[in-house]
């Protein structure tokens, strides 16, 4: 017997919801993947926590930042030249205290310049030790 669907006045047309679950799962997967794709770029800076004795200050390579101007071993320098000089020191092959580069910042130094110097030293394999002017480390 053929069944005929009764179309009465009470029959409300419905939206087919069968594919909603599929859409929902696709959205979840999309958000999970999208959050994983937010990549962070940066530099890992090796800065030891210990206090260093003053006697090392004379022998250790020093980079000074004064008012956003960089000085390396008492001569003014810019970032590409600094990178070259540090690469010449071959810090990757040295160990322990020979890898230490003193970083002294005085005057008005902004983070952009400081970051540039930090990343150059880290890329060359140096271990950064921060020199603070008030403590006279």
């Amino acid at each position: 017997m053929a069944l005929r669907k009764r179309r009465g006045k009470k029959d409300i047309p419905t939206i087919p919801v069968n594919s909603f679950a599929d859409i929902a799962f696709l959205l979840i997967i999309f958000f999970i993947i999208a959050t994983k794709l937010i990549q962070n770029t940066g530099v890992i800076a090796d800065i030891p926590a210990g206090e260093k004795s003053e006697s090392q200050a004379d022998k250790t390579t020093t980079v000074q930042l004064h008012d956003n101007k960089i000085t390396f071993n008492a001569e003014d320098i810019d970032i590409p030249a600094l990178r070259q000089q540090l690469m010449k020191l071959d810090l990757h092959k040295k160990i322990g205290d020979n890898k230490v580069i003193l970083l002294e910042a005085t005057g008005e130094v902004n983070y952009q310049t400081y970051f540039d110097v930090m990343s150059t030293i880290s890329a060359a394999g140096g271990v950064i030790t921060i020199v603070r002017e008030d403590e006279g480390k």
Binding site: G42, A49, Y111, D116, S119
Partner: protein
Amino acid sequence: MGDIAFLLIIFFVICSQFKEVNINPPRSLDAVNLKSRPKITVEIDAKGNIYFQGLQVPNAEAIEWGVRSLLEGKTTEKFKMVMFRCDRSVGKDTFEPVIEAIAKGGGLIAAVGEKPKEGGK
């Protein structure tokens, strides 16, 4: 089924929205992809406000204590990473104590920076 799925999506979307401190990161050619996303974050915004794990702290000493306590018992380098995000215009009087505090607390600093865009810094 569809209702449950939607509720789950909404739950995850809301949970993953966290308040991000707005900073303009510095640019350097040496920036590399930081492989792991460190669990500890220290941020300094353009005004000089210091944030530890998203909450504002008054000074660098609080950072040292916070980092020290969170890093207790961690031995490998991977777990000692501290993500440091700082606006490029912040002066050294603000960020230097914070960097020192993280180092004193035993953290390995992963400083966030961008690669320069094409056409110069």
